[in-house]
């Protein structure tokens, strides 16, 4: 067992260095998995593409168990983790790295018993800013994994347009049908994709 852990640590550290999370939506999924692991029942994801200010921000707020000062101060260290399956943490340190490479930074605020707010910022048109990737797949993956135990709100602004997705609305319409049924997840994925497309439509004011 110890041998396996050591091997995992070695390879995990290598992939940390390579940073294999190719797009920001994968980072978002990773943070969302942290939130559910922290027992969150409500999560809000806010993405803002502020083209005029050349600023791209991703905020994730949850009502999970939060972190105390000690864990908070260590959370960006790739060699820190609270889990017992491997001896390195990677998620937040990789996000901090992605922010830093694109002229931004990562802010983490957390309070034990209240929850955590992660704010990742990037220079919008920085050559090293990773593309966003598929938020539709990220949201569907979270819902598949949490099976309706988490209320997720996703707000996405671009310029003067905003798209809002709320699982509470879906659950209400579903009236008892499971939100993680493959047919429903497929609907959700398509609905988010078309919602995000509508943000790009030319606005007449």
């Amino acid at each position: 067992m110890r041998c396996g852990t050591r091997y995992a640590m070695k390879t995990a550290a290598v992939s940390c260095w390579r940073n294999d999370l190719d797009d920001l939506s994968l980072h978002v999924l990773d943070i969302l998995e942290n939130s559910t692991a922290a027992g969150a029942t409500e999560i809000e994801v806010r993405i803002n593409e502020d083209i005029d200010e050349n600023l791209f921000t991703i905020e994730i707020e949850d009502n999970g168990k939060g972190m105390d000062q000690l864990n908070l101060s260590q959370s960006r260290d790739p060699f820190f983790t609270t889990k017992d399956t491997r001896r390195v943490g990677l998620g937040l340190s990789m996000l901090a790295q992605a922010c830093g490479e694109a002229g931004g930074n990562l802010e983490i605020r957390s309070e034990p018993g209240r929850g955590t707010v992660i704010k990742a910022s990037f220079v919008y048109r920085h050559i090293d800013r990773k593309p966003l990737g598929s938020m539709a797949e990220t949201i569907a993956a979270l819902i598949a994994g949490s099976a309706g135990a988490v209320r997720l709100v996703y707000r996405h602004c671009r310029g003067n347009r905003e798209f809002i997705f709320d699982t509470a609305e879906i659950t209400k319409t579903l009236d008892g049908v499971a939100i993680n049924h493959p047919e429903i997840l497929s609907f959700i994925k398509e609905a988010i994709e078309s919602g995000l497309e509508s943000l790009s439509e030319r606005s007449n004011g």
Binding site: A12, T85, A141, A144, G145, F163, E169, E183, S186, A191
Partner: protein, 129 residues
């Protein structure tokens, strides 16, 4: 600020369709597939594996299969990984997954009940002869 909300109209139709087919099935799910979704899994392509799996299950109308996710299992170098549990059988962990492999696992193991030994983490243990 111009707001766009989710177009919810068609969801009621999908809901009714799901409800009709789900009503045909009595009792619990026969199989559960867990895709490992730790940072290591996500970096190795676990979200893609999950998407392919959900799409295949939807197209094949497998109403007795549950899909879920879990965290890092401690074998980061073998991600993406998934665990298949068929009711009454021991769970099987599959490693180094690709889109093609997970499709084969769904067809051969989940639907037809035969473990795909080539993709499993280990089969048997410590045989010396």
């Amino acid at each position: 600020m111009k707001q766009t909300k989710l177009k919810i109209g068609d969801l009621a139709k999908v809901r009714d369709r799901v409800r009709r087919t789900a009503a045909l099935r009595q009792g619990k799910a026969r199989a559960k597939i867990t895709v490992h979704m730790g940072t290591c899994g996500i970096a190795a392509g676990a979200r893609d594996i999950l998407s392919v799996l959900l799409e295949e299950i939807r197209m094949k109308k497998l109403d007795d299969v549950i899909v879920s996710t879990s965290g890092c299992a401690g074998l980061c170098s073998r991600e993406p990984m998934a665990t298949v549990e068929i009711t009454g059988k021991p769970p099987i962990k599959y490693v180094d997954l690709t889109r093609e492999k997970i499709k084969k696992i769904l067809d051969q193991h989940v639907i037809n009940g035969k473990t795909v030994s080539d993709y499993a983490l280990a089969v048997g243990s410590e045989m010396t002869h």
